[in-house]
Subunit: 462 residues, 2 copies
C-alpha cells in the first residue's frame, strides 16, 4: 500500500507491506547490500531502505540510484538494526523514475550555504532546512485560517491591483498595460492614464486594510491573507518586495479587544506549529537558532505585557543601557528599543499602545489627550515588532481633520469616509507580516529563505 513517509516513520508496524515514492537523499553501497535514504517531502527524516544483492537487476539499479534520483520502492517494514531510526524498509522491488547525474546535480550530500541555495531556488526545497521551512510555513498558514474560521471571521480577498495611492506606506509598483515604448500623453504633456487598462494610474497594493474595513462594516469580523508589495530599494535580510500579510478587522471592537485577539492569535499559531511540526521545530533549534523553542514557549506561556508608549519611553529613559538612537517622547521606537523592552526589561512579548499621533497613520483613533492615537505594536523577544495595529477613527469629522493634516485628499477616499457616514462603529484591526512570522518561528536569518520564490531588488528569477 502506498504510504507517505511521515506516516511510516510515526506509525509503521513490522511486517507491513508498503510502497513509498520519493527522492534519494543518500546511498551507501556496502558489500552485498545497500542503504538508501528516501525522502518524499512529508517529513524531515528520510526512510531507510535496504536493498539486497539478491534483488533482480541489483547492480544496474544501484548505479542509477544517486542523490536526487526519483524512486518507487516496495517492500516490508522491519525493525531497524542501526541507530537513528525505529524502522526500515526491506526492499523487494525498486523502480527508478528519473536519475540525477552526480557530476552535475547541485545538491550533493555536503552542506550548502543559504546564499548558494538561493541561486538554485528550483531545487532548494529538496534540502533539510528549506524543506522544514516550507512545512512550517504551511502549518503557520493553516493555523491562521483555523484560528479565524473557528471564530467566524470571513476570509476576504482584497484587491492586489489598486488605484489608491494615498496610504503612504512606502513606494509603489506601477501596474500598466500601456506599451512602455509609446506612453500616451495628454495635451498638456502628462501621461494619459485614461488609455491604460483601468482608465487611471494603478498600483500593487501595500495593504488590504481599508478594503477589509469595508467588509467588516458588513460582516463584523473579517481577515485578509494575501500578497502585498513594496517597491523600496531595500536589499536587506528583512525586506521583500512581495510578501504575504494577514489583516483581521473587527467591527464593534476597541483596542483592548484588538490586543486580546492579537495575543490569542500568536499563541494559537505557535501551539499549532509545535504540535504539527515537532521534528522540524527541533531541527531549527538544533541547527539554525537554539533559542527557537524557548521563544515559542515564552510566547505560549506568558501573558503579554501591556504598556503605553509614554510608559515605554519612561522605561527606556531609566535604562542603564546606551542606545544608538535617541529616546525621546515623540520619536518612533527603534528596533533596539523594542528589543530592550521585550528581551531585557520584560523578558516576554510586550504590547505598546497609544503612540504620538504625528508618527502614526491617519486612520488611527485619536485619544482624548489629542496627542496620542489608539495604536498598538506587539514586540517579541528576538525579533522586535511582529504585529502592528490600531483602533480605527470612526468619527467622520476627526478623520477628515487627520487626513487634511497629512495632506490626503478626502475625495480620493470618499468611499472610506462613507463608512463613517453610514452606520459607523468603533472598530479595530492589525497586520501581521507573514514572512516575519515564519522567520520568527524558525529562526531563519534571511527573509528570502522563508518564501519559496523571493522578490527583491534585481531578483525575480524562477
Amino acid at each position: 500500500m502506498k504510504r507517505r513517509i511521515i506516516e511510516i516513520l510515526r506509525n509503521g508496524q513490522s511486517d507491513e507491506s508498503v510502497t513509498v515514492q520519493g527522492w534519494v537523499r543518500t546511498k551507501r553501497d556496502l558489500k552485498g547490500f545497500a542503504f538508501v535514504e528516501v525522502n518524499d517531502g512529508s517529513s524531515l527524516a528520510s526512510l531507510q531502505a535496504v536493498l539486497k544483492a539478491e534483488m533482480p537487476d541489483y547492480e544496474a539499479t544501484l548505479k542509477q540510484i544517486n542523490t536526487g534520483a526519483s524512486v518507487e520502492i516496495s517492500g516490508v517494514l522491519v525493525p531497524s538494526q542501526g541507530k537513528g531510526q525505529r524502522i526500515e524498509l526491506q526492499a523487494e522491488t525498486v523502480k527508478v523514475f528519473g536519475d540525477a547525474d552526480p557530476e552535475t546535480y547541485p545538491l550533493q550530500k555536503k552542506r550548502h550555504s543559504f546564499e548558494f541555495l538561493r541561486t538554485i531556488g528550483h531545487l532548494r526545497s529538496r534540502t533539510n532546512s528549506l524543506g522544514a521551512v516550507f512545512r512550517v510555513r504551511n502549518a503557520c498558514a493553516t493555523a491562521i485560517h483555523q484560528f479565524f474560521q473557528e471564530r467566524s471571521f470571513l476570509w476576504v480577498h482584497t484587491p492586489v491591483i489598486t488605484r489608491n495611492d494615498c496610504e503612504g506606506a512606502g513606494e509603489l509598483f506601477t501596474v500598466t498595460s500601456l506599451d512602455l515604448k509609446k506612453i500616451p500623453q495628454t495635451e498638456n504633456g502628462k501621461i494619459d492614464y485614461s488609455q491604460d487598462f483601468f482608465g487611471g494610474q494603478a498600483f500593487l497594493t501595500v495593504s488590504g486594510q481599508l478594503e477589509a474595513e469595508v467588509m467588516a462594516m458588513a460582516f463584523s469580523n473579517v481577515y485578509t491573507f494575501g500578497p502585498t508589495f513594496r517597491a523600496e530599494n531595500s536589499n536587506t535580510s528583512r525586506h521583500l518586495a512581495e510578501f504575504w500579510m494577514v489583516e483581521p478587522e473587527m467591527a464593534f471592537c476597541d483596542l483592548v479587544g484588538n490586543m486580546d485577539l492579537a495575543e490569542a492569535f500568536l499563541k494559537h499559531i505557535f501551539k499549532y506549529v509545535l504540535e504539527t511540526c515537532p521534528e522540524d521545530m527541533k531541527f531549527f533549534n538544533q541547527r539554525i537558532d537554539d533559542s527557537v523553542l524557548a521563544t515559542a514557549d515564552n510566547i505560549i506561556n506568558n501573558q503579554f505585557e501591556r504598556i503605553t508608549y509614554t510608559e515605554a519611553i519612561a522605561q527606556l529613559e531609566k535604562a542603564t543601557k546606551t542606545f544608538e538612537y535617541p529616546v525621546e517622547w515623540g520619536l518612533d521606537l527603534q528596533s533596539e528599543h523594542e528589543r530592550y523592552l521585550a528581551e531585557e526589561l520584560f523578558k516576554k512579548p510586550v504590547i505598546v499602545t497609544d503612540y504620538p499621533k504625528q508618527i502614526k497613520a491617519f486612520y488611527m483613533r485619536v485619544n482624548d489627550d489629542d496627542k496620542t492615537v489608539r495604536a498598538m505594536d506587539v514586540l517579541a523577544p528576538k525579533i522586535g515588532e511582529i504585529i502592528g495595529g490600531s483602533q480605527r477613527e470612526e468619527r467622520l469629522e476627526v478623520l477628515e481633520k487627520r487626513m487634511q493634516a497629512q495632506d490626503i485628499n478626502p475625495d480620493d477616499l470618499w468611499w472610506y469616509l462613507d463608512l463613517r457616514r453610514y452606520g459607523t462603529v468603533p472598530h479595530a484591526g492589525f497586520g501581521l507580516g507573514f514572512e516575519r512570522l515564519v522567520q520568527f518561528m524558525t529562526g531563519m536569518g534571511n527573509i528570502r529563505d522563508v518564501i519559496p520564490f523571493p522578490r527583491a531588488p534585481l531578483s525575480a528569477e524562477f
Copy 2:
C-alpha cells in the same frame, strides 16, 4: 452576553439575556412599540428586536434608528408572536453608534440592481444577496484548504510578480518601478529594463503552475491558492483582470489520479457549502437561479462521466442539435459543445481527456499516438469548463521538442527543464478558477458580483 445573530437564530433559548451588535435593516414604527431588524453579517436572516415605548429615550432613539444605522441592543429572548421567526429580542437597552441619513443612504429597503450595487462596492456587502455571496465564497475557500490539508498537501505561495512571460496564457500586465515619463533606453533604442526594480521586464503572473511543479518535486503534493491576472480587454460577465486560482500539483501521479482528485475535490466543496451555508444556498435557489440546489445535488451524487476528446467529437457529430461552431477533430470544444455534453447527453459532470496536442499547452504529456496529450477538462452542467488540467510531460527530450514546436526558448525555462533533468517523475495537476466556482455555486450571473472588489477594463475603484 454578546452573541452573533446566527447563533441566536439557530440556538437561542427563551429567557436568555443577550447583547447583539449590528446594522439596522428595517424599522417598523407601530403604536407604542417598534420592530427593528438587526443584521451583523453572520447570517442572511436578521434578528427581530422589539422596542417598547416604555424604554428610556424611546422617541429619540427611534428617530436615529433608520436603515443602515449601527446599534447595540441588549435584552431577553422570547418566542416570537409573528410569523417568519422562531425567536425575537425584547429590547431593554439600545445604543446607537452611528446613524445613516435616510435622505442619502443608498441602500434603502427596495431591491437594487446588481449594476447599481457595483457602483457602491463599499456598501453592497450589506445587502442580502452580496452578503450571502461572500459567506459562500468564504465557505468555498475554507473547504478548499480543508480538502488539501486533510490530504497532506502543502499550501505553497507562488509569486505574483514574475519575469516568466512564456506560458502564453494571454496578455500580461507589466509591473515596473520606472518613471513612465522617463523610460530609460539602451544605446540601440530599446527599453533599458536593467534599470527597473527587478533588473528585467516583469509581469503579473497568469498561473502558479510552473512554480507549483517546482514545489511538488520536493514535497510530492502541493497546491496554490492565490491571485492571478489577465490584461485581456474582455468586458464580459465571465472575465476578471484579477481573480483567484487554485492549482494542485502532485508528483507520482498520472491523469487517472488527477481526475480522481478533481472529482473528490468538487464534491467536497459542494458538500461543505451545503452543510455550512444552508440558508444562503436556499436563498440563491429562490432568488437567483432555481437550479442551484439541483446542480449541487448532481455534482455530489453522480460519478463523473469520463470520455476522451475523440469520443466527445464522435458524440457531438452524432447529435441532432445544430451548433453555432463547427465540430471537427482538431478544433477546440466551444462552450455550447461542453454544455451539450454535460447538460443534455450525460446530464452530469463530464471529464474530457486526451485533447489534440496542437490546441494544448507545451507542458502536457504527449500520448503514444503522438497526436493527443494527457489533458483533461471537467465540464459541469450550467457552466461548462470548471477545471482544466493535465498530466505533465516528464520526459526531457519530448518536452524540449514541444517547446521548440511552440517557439518557446528553452533557456528562458532552464529551471523548469532542470526538474526533468534531476529526479523527474510522472506528475499531474489542475487549475480551478475560484470565482467561476463561486458563480457556479451561487448561480450569480456576473462574475463581478462574486469577488469583493472586481478589476475589469476601466474599473478598479474602491
